[in-house]
Amino acid sequence: MRPVEQAVRESFGRLVAILASRGRDLAAAEDALADAVLAALERWPADGVPDRPEAWLVAVARRRLADRFRRSKTDAALEGSLAILAELSIDEPADGAAFPDERLRLLFVCAHPAIEETIRAPLMLQTVLGLDAARIAAAFLVPASTMGQRLVRAKAKIRDAGVPFAIPEASELPERVQSVLEAIYAAFGSGWDDIAIDGPDRAGSLAEEAIWLGRVLTRLMPDEPEALGLLALMLHSEARRSARRDASGRYVPFSEQETSLWQAAMIAEAEATLRRAAAMHRPGRFQLEAAIQSAQVGARLTGSPGPDVIALLHEALWARAPRIGVAVARAVAVADATGAEAGLALLEELPGDHVAGYQPYHAARADLLARAGRAEEAFAAFSTAIALTGDGAVRDHLADRQRRLLS
């Protein structure tokens, strides 16, 4: 990323958070900021860049919000406009001081329980990082117009329902932090999650942007070990990105990846981040997931820890986060430690209606059946997994393995 883009990205969320914090109108804040940036592009080349560019942008954006207030005459718009007017009276920071960083409040707004769960990640990417709806839509595999409408609706809900730009009370904080972490992880793309079976490599992945959000969160909440855990998890996964495909674009599963293609510096950062989290002695789901990644990477690089330790970590994660993806990963880890049949027994326990359309389940089951020498059943399971796989490279890989059963 170029320095200018970095600066803009860093500023965008900060300024939107400031402009929207009283009126709660994210769309109006974004529009006003966009107008201010346009004005800057016209004025700065001629007049020179002002001493405090952010203050200049905020001042211009607030004038735009005031214009909007004067234009809105209807009763229905009055209440929102009064809030916008209140926005205009926020004191400027003293000369030389930076605006306070209100992005944490913005993250809590985007992940508020009143906001529909699947739109939280897109909302964060747009309001905190300034990503456009088309790019977000591509990553989430929905039409741009659909994503645009859903974002507009979510912002209207925030404004009209009165979602506060506030840090939640202590009693609600753990749950609310969890929602923020989950939304960031959703932005990262659970498709990258190769704890169980590598998922599809999504076009237009937002992994880098999600890592950016993760870094922002660890700066804003330095004492939250799960934020560090999430960052470590994302860094570990991202470090192996280029090893997931070979030169001809074919999918390479974790156990066969060229470890020299793994990014050592990123793995080291992930490990250091996870150590910082562990030192706080408050374990959680994301720290455990990162620890599993760390152990699996360690096992490939140095042969330690062994599969039994990795299986234990999966047990601990399962106890804390009993969800379907974790269950499948745990079954594979148990198979690695004690044999394919033991893993298959765990898969059998999962309720059929939960797993029927879940690709990782069928891919894992096919793999374990093949390892157990149950070729006929494995063949059928591979067929089911292939039918459920969206990613062409992964489909080819599964088809390869299915063919090998016949030889």
Binding site: D75, A77, H112, A161, G162, V163, P164
Partner: protein
């Protein structure tokens, strides 16, 4: 901001209202909630409602009144009462909604249309 908090109950709770013994516990729980929310000074209006069997629904079609016995939508949970409250944001409204005796069934929180 002003919110309506809408309380929903099932046949069971509506029936309990007239019941001598269980009715006492039902009304006791509502009474202490109503006292608490009224004492907080946020209430702008509200009412408890008689059961859905007392509801009548009217629809105008082609200028003609179609009157029907029963509530607007046939559902297991029916509107049992509401408060109009004035609080700073949705978190405060949700906190009051969560305290209602019928919270295990469901309470809907909606901002009111401004300027009415």
């Amino acid at each position: 901001m002003q919110y309506a908090i809408l309380f929903y109950e099932t046949d069971k709770e509506f029936a309990t209202r007239d019941h001598t013994e269980e009715g006492a516990a039902y009304w006791g729980a509502w009474r202490s909630y109503i006292d608490e929310i009224s004492a907080s000074g946020i209430v702008r209006g509200g009412a408890g409602l008689l059961g859905p069997e007392t509801a009548t629904t009217i629809r105008l079609a082609d200028g003609r009144k179609h009157v029907q016995d029963g509530p607007f939508a046939a559902a297991k949970e029916q509107l049992a009462g509401f408060f109009l409250i004035e609080v700073p944001d949705i978190d405060a409204a949700l906190a009051w909604a969560a305290k209602a005796p019928c919270a295990p069934i469901g309470v809907e929180v909606r901002p009111t249309l401004p300027g009415m």
